[in-house]
């Protein structure tokens, strides 16, 4: 199933919000809701999207939407899904939009519980690779080498010393019915995955890269470029987990330069050649494994 711009529902469900100009997260939320339609019931934990979308009386969702506790995106989705079913309503989609911290750190327990129960929900992690709402602090999904306000880059330590947690495979390891990775840079791929998830029963997890110009140190007009380049240079990949198998959707013949991708972003500008070599090496190792053991489509 392919979803193009012209197939998208004309309604705008997330509108008038106060996200920063060029916000990748708001783009992910906006378009996912356009795929899911007016009967999407959205749960957003404390974080950027709830902060910018729900300040009474400025309420920026046209569909049903509710803020959950920071740790409680998945558990509130579970309750809503059960509640709607009890009311005899079947034509709705319970969908969560949580950031990287809300997903990989504080919300991972509730997410794991929901996948374990196979609750019929879609969980979308918009990953901007740090706690951006509170002012760019390191999360479990901040990549190696990134400078944040809690992983400063100095002479002794060059930013974050740990790689990103692998949330896609953590979700998959629960034997979830459907998991996928995406980026707002390749929107059609993302929309297709959201559409596919909406047709599958059980828990669905989609992990979408959503650059934050403020936190990444890029111009506000470059969100989409960065979101494409991260895939083109091989530091992110477009994949799916379905029926117990990993599939890679896009297998680049050659990668663009990791160094160029990094050097464009303020958060990586301090990295030495050695640091960049470490990042390239880990990319190569990951892709070697992907190409060896995943289905190449």
């Amino acid at each position: 199933m392919s979803i193009n711009a012209k197939d998208l529902c004309k309604d705008e469900f997330f509108y008038g919000h106060k996200a920063c100009a060029g916000c990748g997260g708001s783009l992910a939320v906006r378009n996912a809701l356009k795929v899911l339609g007016p009967n999407a019931v959205a749960v957003l934990p404390a974080g950027c999207m709830s902060a910018v979308g729900f300040n009474f009386p400025q309420l920026c969702f046209a569909n049903n939407a509710i803020i959950s506790t920071f740790a409680g995106t998945a558990s509130m989705l579970t309750g809503i899904e059960a509640g709607f079913r009890r009311r005899g309503i079947t034509d709705f989609t319970a969908v969560g939009f949580a950031g990287d911290g809300g997903t990989a750190d504080i919300g991972i327990q509730a997410l794991s519980g929901a996948i374990d129960r196979n609750d019929n929900i879609i969980y979308i992690c918009y990953d901007n690779e740090a706690y951006m709402n509170t002012g760019i602090q390191k999360s479990g999904l901040t990549p190696f080498g990134a400078k944040t306000t809690t992983t400063p880059a100095g002479k002794n330590v060059h930013g974050n010393i740990r790689p990103k947690k692998n949330m896609f495979e953590i979700a998959a390891a629960h034997d979830i019915p459907y998991a996928a990775t995406a980026t707002v840079g390749y929107m059609n791929d993302f929309l297709e995955k959201v559409g596919k998830a909406s047709q599958i029963k059980g828990t669905k997890y989609i992990h979408v890269i959503a650059p934050c110009p403020t936190g990444w140190g890029i111009p506000v007009s470059d969100t989409i470029d960065a979101a494409r380049e991260i895939v083109d240079c091989g530091l992110w990949y477009l994949a799916e987990y379905e029926n117990g198998e990993y599939n890679i959707n896009h297998n680049p013949a050659t990668f663009t330069s990791v160094s160029e991708y990094l050097k464009k972003q303020g958060r990586f500008r301090h990295l030495s050649d050695e640091d960049i070599a470490v990042i390239e090496k880990s990319r190569d190792k990951k892709w070697e494994k992907i190409r060896r053991s995943w289905n190449l489509k």
Binding site: N4, A5, K6, L8, K10, D11, E12, F13, F14, Y15, G16, H17, K18, A19, C20, A21, G22, C23, G24, S26, L27, R30, N31, P38, F56, P57, Q58, L59, C60, F61, A62, N63, N64, A65, V184, M187, P219, V220, S221, D222, T223, I224, D225
Partner: protein, 96 residues
């Protein structure tokens, strides 16, 4: 269907709900003041490919009669539409 600006923008004691539940899509402020530059669509160059519509984080671009139309009440002037436009139909101009 879309959140839209309402006439009533403030609420007195009795009008504030007792629970944290309110009509969806209720807008009381615009975002136009955020812009230092604004996208301007050159109608002749616009081919209606919808890429600007697809990638706008604020959803302020619609395609009418196969041409991009911008809602300046809510456009923040990020310039993604201009960068994404292959025919070069969207130019960023300084706000006066």
């Amino acid at each position: 269907m879309k959140p839209y600006l309402r006439e009533k923008t403030s609420f007195g004691f009795t009008e504030v709900p007792k629970d944290t539940s309110f009509e969806a899509g209720y807008l009381v402020t615009k975002n136009s003041g955020w812009r230092s530059i604004r996208p301007v669509v050159c109608i002749d160059r616009c081919v209606g490919c919808m890429q600007c519509y697809l990638y706008c984080p604020d959803g302020v671009i619609s395609i009418e009669n196969k041409k991009a139309v911008i809602d300046y009440d809510f456009c923040k002037g990020c310039g993604i539409c201009s960068k994404i436009c292959r025919p070069g139909a969207v130019k960023m101009e300084a706000e006066k």
